[in-house]
Symmetry: C2
Subunit: 231 residues, 2 copies
C-alpha cells in the first residue's frame, strides 16, 4: 500500500484492535505506524487522539499510546451502560421496523450462525456486535449508534482480556428479533437486559484476576521485552 489518509489509518488500527491483532496494553509507536502507512507522524497522532477519545487507547504523556486495558470495574461499567442504552433502543424499535430492516437483521443472524459452525468465534462475536449496532442504528437517533459503537468496541477489548465461553447464546438474538417484529416492546427490553447480563457472566473476571492494573507494571514484569507493534 502507498500512502493513506486519516480515515484509512483510523479504520486499520481500530480493526486491528477489534480483531485482537493489537492486544490490550500493546504500545502503538507513532513513527512505526507512520512508516507502515507511508505518512508522517502528524496524521497518526490525530488518529491516536481520536481513538483515545473513544477510550480504545490510552495516551500517557511522553510515554506513549497503549491499547486500552479495562479493569474489571470498567468492564462492568461498560456492560451496565450497554444495558441502559440497548434496553431503551430495542424497546423503541419494537414493532417499528420495515420489512427491509428486519431482513437486514435476519441476514446478520445467518452470518453469525455460519461463523459459529465454521469455528470462527471471533468473527461470530463481531457479527453479534453488528446485530446489536444495527438495532441502535434503526432507532433513528444517532446517539444510540454513536455511544453503542464505542461501548461495543470496548466490549471486544474486554473479551480479548477476560475471555468468553464458547456458547454465545446465539438463540437470544433470534428470539429478540421475533419480539421486535411482533412489537412486544417490554418483552424485548427484558430479553435484551437478560442477554447482556448473560454475556457479562460468561466473562472470566476472576481467572485473570492478576491482570495488569497499570501499564508500567506490565512492562516491568516483561523485563524490557514488552509487547510492541514493532515486535
Amino acid at each position: 500500500m502507498g500512502v493513506a489518509n486519516e480515515l484509512d489509518i483510523y479504520i486499520a488500527i481500530k480493526d486491528a484492535i477489534i480483531q485482537q491483532k493489537l492486544r490490550p496494553s500493546m504500545q502503538l509507536v507513532e513513527e512505526v505506524i507512520a512508516e507502515s502507512f507511508g505518512v508522517s507522524r502528524t496524521p497518526v497522532r490525530n488518529v491516536l487522539r481520536k481513538l483515545a477519545g473513544e477510550k480504545l487507547v490510552t495516551v500517557i504523556p511522553y510515554k506513549g499510546t497503549f491499547v486500552a486495558c479495562p479493569t474489571v470495574e470498567e468492564a462492568k461499567e461498560v456492560f451496565e451502560m450497554r444495558r441502559v442504552i440497548e434496553a431503551s433502543g430495542v424497546k423503541k424499535v419494537s414493532g417499528k421496523l420495515t420489512r427491509d430492516q428486519l431482513s437486514q437483521l435476519s441476514e446478520l443472524l445467518d452470518e453469525e450462525h455460519s461463523a459459529h459452525h465454521n469455528g470462527d468465534p471471533l468473527l461470530a462475536v463481531r457479527l453479534s456486535g453488528n446485530f446489536h449496532l444495527k438495532i441502535a442504528e434503526f432507532t433513528g437517533n444517532n446517539y444510540y449508534f454513536r455511544y453503542l459503537e464505542e461501548l461495543i468496541s470496548l466490549t471486544y477489548v474486554i473479551i480479548a482480556l477476560y475471555g468468553m465461553s464458547k456458547h454465545m447464546h446465539c438463540s437470544d438474538h433470534r428470539r429478540l428479533m421475533l419480539l421486535i417484529e411482533q412489537g412486544e416492546a417490554e418483552q424485548a427490553e427484558r430479553l435484551m437486559i437478560e442477554h447482556l447480563k448473560e454475556i457479562e457472566d460468561t466473562l472470566q473476571f476472576e481467572e485473570k484476576g492478576t491482570a495488569p492494573q497499570t501499564l508500567s507494571e506490565v512492562f516491568r514484569l516483561a523485563n524490557g521485552h514488552y509487547a510492541s507493534v514493532k515486535g
Copy 2:
C-alpha cells in the same frame, strides 16, 4: 497570560462556548487562538479535534472549525438520549446517596435559586446542568457522567440557538432531590423524564425555524462579513 497547555486551551474554548461568548456557527481560526494563548497551531489543532469528537465544534476540511449548530432534529435527539441516561441514572441513585452527597446537591440548588433571583439566567442554566451532572457522577459509573457531560454541553449550545423561556421549573429539581432522598426510584425516574420534556418544550424551535441549515449558507447570507473570533 503567557503560554498555556492543551488542557487550558480546551477548558477556555469549551467555557467560551458554554457561556455563549462563542455562538453557534462562529469560526475558530487556529492561528488566532494560537496567538492569544501564546502557542503554535499544533496544540490548538489537537484541542479543536478533541472538541469535534464531542460534537461541540464541526471541522470542515480546508475550510475551518466552527462552533456546532445543531438542527432541530439533532436537538431532539440530544434530549431523547438525555431522558434515557438520566432516567436510568436517577433511578440508580435513589435511596443510595450519603448525607454528604445530598448536601452537595442541595448546595447546587441554592446557588441555582440565587442565580435566578440575581437575574443571571445563563448562570442558572449552567448550575442546573451541574445539578444533573452531579447525579450522573453519583451513579459511580463513569459512562453516565461522560455521556451526560457531552449531552449537557450540547444542551447549552441548543439553548443558545433556540432560546428558552425564563421560567426554568426550578422547583422540579427540589422535588427530584426529595424523591432521591426518600428512595422513591420510580417516581424520581418519572419526574426526571417529565422535567426534561418540559425543558425541551420551552425551546422555541419554530421561531428561529429559519435558523441556518448549513454553515456555508450562513456566511453567504452575511455577504463575507461573517461572524468570527477575529471580529
